[in-house]
């Protein structure tokens, strides 16, 4: 048996927003296997939900995850509506899509900034997050909160977007186009970033089908699926947008899919805002009860499809509430993506999935042969950044330049 080294990544690692444990089995510089351990953050939400009323459940699922804090509620209220055949007024559908797409923008920007940080491009990180701040301020303006907007409820939304607030919203969202275009050019055309991400951590179309992967992970490997288009809900049947797909399934393509998706999100929000003033309220159908039965609701979260299943027995509480978040299926693909790759690339491959562990639910290095050597999280980040610096020297380039003069 060949001598192999095990590199533990986690349970607490700066790459991850939350605890998760990856054990990388390495032979020299190459990754030959991976163990993924979840459960460091298991909160028993499904069981808790059985003790809440249908209205309270929405607040509970909103707290599954802070980044996609509106995707779970949208899927959840749709499951309840599906179960009880509850109608939703059109104005509420537009508002749901606006909030959902604003969340996608802020989530993709968060990820893009972090990806830059892991690769050692801290300028990119800071600028990307500066524009994310505009979005969060807008969230506060229209919903009252920067995160956890509490907008969804079975039968509609909790808070209307006032017609007089729409121009300010459109101005902020449209204002993101120019900086986004700059980020797109920097990321997609820079030779150094390409050298770090192209051909790294590839997943084939067959791989993503086998793993039942969803979202940008599936789309970057050429699997053309998007819940927004395929299973129309909220206002997505009433607006035009493209589903972005690429063929290679490497880290680069995952970046490309997310960046191009942001432009689509801007367009969706603009279309919804245009329709909003001519779509009168109410924004809530005030359902009084949920009839016995079962319902399924799903929504395209920034990371992929989130699905909620709710069973009602005629009381005001769910008899069973099942939640499946996108990272649950996407993180599993790492078992394939890191095989045969270098340790220095492992951080960015694991990060390319944009994992969210609060939704699903760790990295350091131990020598299995001697049990002596220990590479910790800091060391792995250092390795990743070192590789970028080495490439800079070899290629004789300086790395991406961000000329933000016009925006500063």
């Amino acid at each position: 048996m060949p001598k192999k080294t095990i590199i533990p990544i986690g349970p607490c690692h700066p790459l991850q927003e939350e605890p998760e444990f990856f054990k990388l089995h390495v032979d020299g510089e190459k990754v030959i296997g991976i163990d993924i351990e979840l459960g460091y953050n298991h909160r028993g939400m499904e069981k808790i939900s059985e003790g809440k009323t249908f209205e309270q459940t929405v607040f509970l699922v909103e707290r599954i995850c802070g980044i996609c804090s509106t995707s779970h509620p949208i899927a959840c209220v749709q499951a309840v509506e599906n179960c009880g055949d509850i109608p939703v007024p059109p104005r509420a559908l537009y508002i749901r899509s606006i909030i959902g797409e604003m969340e996608r923008l802020h989530s993709h920007l968060l990820w893009l900034g972090l990806a830059g940080h892991f690769l050692g491009f801290n300028t990119l990180w800071m600028w990307v997050w500066r524009y994310r701040e505009d979005l969060l301020n807008m969230f506060e303006y229209i919903t009252g909160n920067r995160n956890h907007y509490s907008m969804m409820k079975p039968g509609g939304v909790r808070r209307d977007i006032k017609n007089e607030d729409v121009p300010a919203l459109v101005k902020t969202i449209a204002g993101l186009r120019k900086p986004l275009d700059l980020f797109r050019a920097v990321v997609m055309e820079d030779p150094l970033l390409q050298a770090r991400t192209k051909g790294v951590g590839c997943l084939t179309k067959q791989d993503v089908i086998d793993f039942c992967a969803v979202g940008p992970v599936a789309r970057s490997s050429g699997l053309d699926i998007d819940v927004r288009r395929d299973h129309p809900h909220a206002a997505y049947g009433m607006v035009d947008f493209k589903v972005i797909t690429t063929k290679n399934g490497d880290v680069f393509d995952k970046v490309v899919v997310r960046i191009l998706e942001m432009f689509e999100s801007i367009s969706i929000i603009e279309q919804c805002c245009k329709a909003l003033p001519s779509t009168p309220g109410p924004v809530d159908s005030n359902p009084k009860e949920v009839v016995p039965g079962e319902g399924i609701g799903h929504y395209e979260a920034p990371r992929g499809e989130v699905i909620h299943y709710i069973r009602s027995d005629g009381t005001n509480r769910p008899a069973r509430h099942k939640v499946r978040a996108p990272s649950y299926v996407n993180v599993a693909t790492n078992a394939k993506a890191v095989l045969g790759q270098y340790i220095a690339d492992a951080t960015i491959i694991l990060g390319a999935v944009d994992p969210c562990y609060c939704c699903t639910e760790r990295m350091a290095a131990i020598d299995a042969g001697t049990g002596a050597k220990l590479l910790d999280a800091k060391e792995l980040l250092r390795l990743s950044r070192q590789k970028t610096e080495d490439l800079k020297r070899q290629m004789g380039v300086e790395g991406p330049k961000l000329d933000m003069g016009a925006f500063a």
């Binding site: 599906n82 395929d230 039965g293």
Partner: protein
């Protein structure tokens, strides 16, 4: 083979599954619930996953009054329809074939149903704890109705 249109889902499934399809409930044109026997789950899943190119969204295990139920949720993304395949398992000895050898996407969710609901998956390649700690006592299943805490 792909199902040509939304309204063709049930006819195609009836034709492909034949006598294996015990019951079908159409909640709405895009939400269909099927009932099949636990013994047929491998063949039914093969038809839906391989022949009809559906995607396994997830599976839900429920502690219902008369049986343990598993619902396999399959998404037909190309026609916008979700088909949930229901199997009922004996309360005393809940056992079913694992579909993970057919579809890798089922691996984690089966591990989860095994540890939380106590359903045995025959032929699962790697049946270990997923969410619970490794030294969780055997025979305690937190999602079952009769679970009152570890010290109860």
């Amino acid at each position: 083979m792909r199902i040509p249109a939304q309204e063709q889902v049930l006819p195609v499934l009836r034709e492909k599954l034949g006598g294996r399809l015990l019951d079908a409930t159409v909640k709405s044109p895009v939400r269909i619930f099927l009932l099949v026997s636990a013994a047929d789950i491998m063949e039914v899943s093969r038809v839906i996953f391989r022949d009809l190119e559906a995607r396994l969204q997830t599976a839900t295990a429920t502690d219902a009054p008369d049986a343990f139920e598993i619902l396999y949720h399959w998404a037909f993304d190309y026609i916008g329809c979700v088909v949930s395949v229901r199997v009922k398992l004996d309360k005393q000895k809940p056992e079913i074939d694992s579909i993970a050898p057919l579809c890798r996407g089922a691996e984690w969710i089966e591990r989860e149903m095994w540890e939380l609901m106590g359903i045995a998956f025959r032929g699962h390649p790697d049946l270990r704890h997923l969410l619970l700690m490794d030294d969780w006592p055997a025979g305690k299943f937190p999602l079952r109705r009769d679970f009152k805490g570890l010290n109860a």
